[in-house]
Amino acid sequence: MGQCLRHQMHWEDLEEYQALTFLTRNEILCIHDTFLKLCPPGKYYKEATLTTDQVSSLPALRVNPFRDRICKVFSHNNMFSFEDVLGMASVFSEQACPSLKIEYAFRIYDFNENGFIDEEDLQRIVFRLLNSDDVSEDLLADLTSHVLSESDLDNDNMLSFSEFEHAMAKSPDFMNSFRIHFWGF
């Protein structure tokens, strides 16, 4: 992180980004550096965009089982501008507040984007987490039913945002695991 260069970014822009995101100065400069390495040469960083494939291949996201969902949630029209990348890094930064993380975690885990995390979403989450070929149907169904029995308060077989928020507020590992430190190479 110490090798990032201060390259073409104006001081006012840096100050503005610091005020609008949870990132520190060094982190913003690091992301700027990474962005410049990936975007086509010659373009001003504020106008360049990256594809989701490029962002998915960053070391920070390369092995993440949810990287396609992360890219979908944070990009606009499947393209990432510099500010989109900053917004993504801000949510995953260490200083971000819990409510912001829970908000975006809900969007990431909602695979079918119907505003609720239902059984289908849960099964896909578990499948991605286990990442193995011989996962039996029983195991998936068992785990899904356990999660729902713990956090589905109104018994409608899906998690609304407030139920998810309630479950994550009680979860001791959420803040520690929903963090990405380093966005460089």
Partner: protein, 672 residues
């Protein structure tokens, strides 16, 4: 249909804003995409610009918000403008200061890289080690400022001081100090060196014995408060949950993946550990159900088997304690012989015999416990916890046994009479120094063992596995796994020795700090070069609470010998700052008696029974009140959950009725 419900829409609106925990701001902001016209009108004045960051919008929208906010500011009065400007700059200053202090954090990069490569469980071990380094450093600073600084000032003749006078009418038969062997005993490493009674400054005399005692109490209180503060986080979470803490499926599935993993092999390992953990949890649930369905016959059989096995465990513990007791007595007796007559190696063996026996016991007993618990037929999670608990007890109790053996030797008076001095002054003219020596030996031996195990067991094992992997035996044995519970017990053991020994040997915390720094680097190298990550991983939240709990047990076990030696055993009359007092604790009553009489009567009043008993009763009443309150809250939570599920059923029933009615109307319209 469900998306048109008012409850869903209000949540959706709330989702694109922030639920600002700020008590100042009143209304919530409407999202910019659909309600932009209400945007300008809906902002209140007491808007904190720091809370813009918390909004779940992208940066361009936040920028618009900020511009609107700033134009709004023009309509405020001068006073409000200045208030907001100053609060903004204050918050920015705090943010920058926090950023600076994170740079000062010790070993930040090392711990981050360990987290990325090995996961948060092992990272929490290294954070715990860092915490202990800081704790020992602070303890040493306290002792330095209160005790060592005046001694140094006196040594370099910066101030005058009076030395401890041995009163003439004391009839203890004092042995001359020249009989002490070894050069270390005379140095400021041990208690015996501190013979200053009072250090004279301009206006007052600095009472060194009182300072010595107060520094001990201060570092124990500071350790207790710091550990409790750190463990409050984990404990708060435990209190909220009614079910099994840390085992919740929600936690494991939604917060199961460590997003900071960047390594392909680490990711594979995380997947396999998640598979293992989730399967183990389901298995445990099945076993628990099986246990609940046991017949009474089986239950009796299991319980009698467990009783028998627990007796075996107690017997093993008793055997170890007895071995340590005999080793200590043997070592103490033979230490007194003329040392130059013995061979050097034999001398060292006798000196370090208690440490060797303790290390052997701590090595053998975990294996015995692991074998025994197989037969006790507990669920897997409980098995692990019980084994760890037994090992913790074993490790920490060995130190207590050692200290109590020493204590019993000091106050045992077979042939020599102890009436004059209260302790065995022939064998132990300066018993505090000798206890301090034992603690120092334990600590050094512990460090040597850790270094030796790493150098002579871990690295060769790694070399064998890398170069001779064709041998079946080596393949079975495999590479080292970083066993977190054993390592944590090791450092808690070291810290307990430090706490007990710091009273008898004031420089011990400094040695402990250096020792833990060395251990950090050694363990880090051992982890990076010789260990493979284990498939069964500790969770970070679980680990933190477990480590601090074990440390707290160590602290409680350390306080017991200290209080006994301070309050019961008479202090040495031949050395140390407390020769003028019967026991170490006597300094405090003597100091209180020099206070002005009003203060004295206040102190006596506070410590008398007339105050203590009502105080205790009031505390009990307050505790019962909080317990009752917690019980009432739990009942309310259960009722609310039931009510929520009822509401949802009502909702579905009404929707069903509505769709039927709509279909009816449609049919009627079509039919006409």
């Amino acid at each position: 249909f469900l998306q048109e419900l008012p409850s869903y829409r209000s949540i959706a609106r709330r989702r694109t804003t922030i639920l600002s925990r700020d008590k100042q701001s009143g209304t919530l902001l409407k999202p910019t995409d659909s309600y932009s016209s209400q945007l300008e009108g809906g902002i209140t004045e007491n808007f904190n610009s720091q809370s813009i960051r918390k909004y779940a919008l992208n940066i361009s929208e936040k920028r618009r918000l900020r511009n609107i906010q700033e134009t709004q500011m023009k309509y405020l009065s001068e006073w409000d403008q200045w208030k907001r400007y100053s609060s903004k700059s204050w918050k920015r200053f705090i943010g920058k200061a926090r950023e600076m202090t994170t740079h000062l954090e010790l070993w930040r990069e090392d711990i981050r890289s360990i987290e990325g490569k090995f996961g948060t469980g092992i990272q929490s071990y290294f954070s715990f080690l860092r915490f202990l380094v800081l704790l020992n450093l602070v303890i040493f600073l306290i002792i330095f400022m209160l005790v060592l600084l005046p001694v140094l000032l006196t040594k370099y003749n910066i101030t005058n001081s009076t030395f401890v006078l041995i009163p003439e009418h004391n009839q203890c038969d004092l042995m001359p100090l020249t009989l002490f062997q070894g050069f270390l005993e005379e140095t400021c490493l041990f208690y015996g060196h501190y013979t200053i009674d009072g250090v004279k400054f301009h206006n007052f005399t600095y009472d060194l014995p009182l300072a010595y005692l107060l520094s001990t109490i201060a570092y124990l209180a500071l350790s207790l408060l710091w550990i409790v503060k750190r463990s409050v986080e984990g404990f708060k979470i435990n209190l909220i949950r009614s079910e099994e803490h840390f085992q919740s499926y929600c936690n494991k599935i939604f917060a199961g993946w460590d997003f900071c993993i960047t390594n392909r092999s680490m990711a594979d390992l995380k997947h396999s550990s998640l598979r293992y953990e989730l399967r183990a949890d389901l298995e445990e649930e099945r076993i628990r159900q099986k246990i609940a369905e046991r017949t009474s016959e089986e239950t009796i059989r299991i319980y009698s088997l467990r009783l028998f096995l627990n007796c075996i465990v107690l017997a093993v513990l008793a055997a170890c304690f007895y071995a340590i007791y005999r080793a200590t007595i043997f070592s103490q007796e033979h230490m007194k012989k003329e040392i130059d007559k013995m061979v050097f190696g034999e001398n060292l063996l006798i000196l370090y015999l208690p440490s060797i026996v303790i290390t052997l016991a701590n090595f053998i007993t975990p294996m015995i416990f692991a074998k025994i618990i197989h037969y006790e037929d507990y669920s897997p999670g409980f098995e692990i916890r019980l084994t760890i608990l037994r090992c913790v007890f074993m490790r920490l109790a060995t130190i207590c046994v050692l200290v109590f053996t020493l204590g019993s030797k000091i106050t045992s008076c077979d042939n020599y009479s102890c009436e004059l001095c209260g302790y065995n002054q022939k064998l132990y003219p300066c018993w505090e120094t000798q206890v301090g020596q034992e603690m120092y030996k334990l600590m050094i031996f512990d460090l040597i063992i850790i270094l030796a195990v790493t150098l002579f067991v871990d690295f060769p094992r790694k070399l064998l596995v890398t170069y001779c992997s064709s041998w079946k035996l080596i393949q079975c044995w495999g590479q080292q796994e970083f066993a977190i519970p054993d390592n944590v017990l090791g450092i808690v053991y070291g810290q307990t020795i430090c706490w007990i020994g710091a009273f008898f040997s004031p420089l011990l915390p400094a040695i402990a700090t250096l020792k833990f720094i060395i251990i950090f680097y050694v363990k880090e190298m051992s982890l990076l070069y010789t260990c493979r990550p284990s498939p069964r991983q500790f969770r970070a939240s679980n680990s933190n609470f477990f480590f601090l709990l074990v440390l707290l047990i160590g602290l409680c076990l350390a306080i017991i010998p200290l209080t006994i030696s301070m309050a019961r055993i008479p202090s040495s009359k031949a050395c140390g700052p407390f020769t003028n007092f019967n026991t170490t604790w006597e300094v405090v009553p003597k100091t209180v008696s020099t206070f002005p009489s009003s203060l004295q009567s206040l102190v006596y009043g506070v410590t008398s029974e007339a105050f203590a008993v009502p105080f205790f009763m009031i505390i009990c009443l307050i505790m019962f009140y909080f317990i009752a309150l917690a019980g009432a809250h739990k009942r309310v939570v259960v009722q609310l959950r039931e009510q929520l599920s009822l509401e949802s059923r009502d909702k579905r029933y009404l929707i069903q009725k509505l769709t039927e009615a709509q279909k009816d109307v449609k049919n009627r319209v079509d039919g006409r």
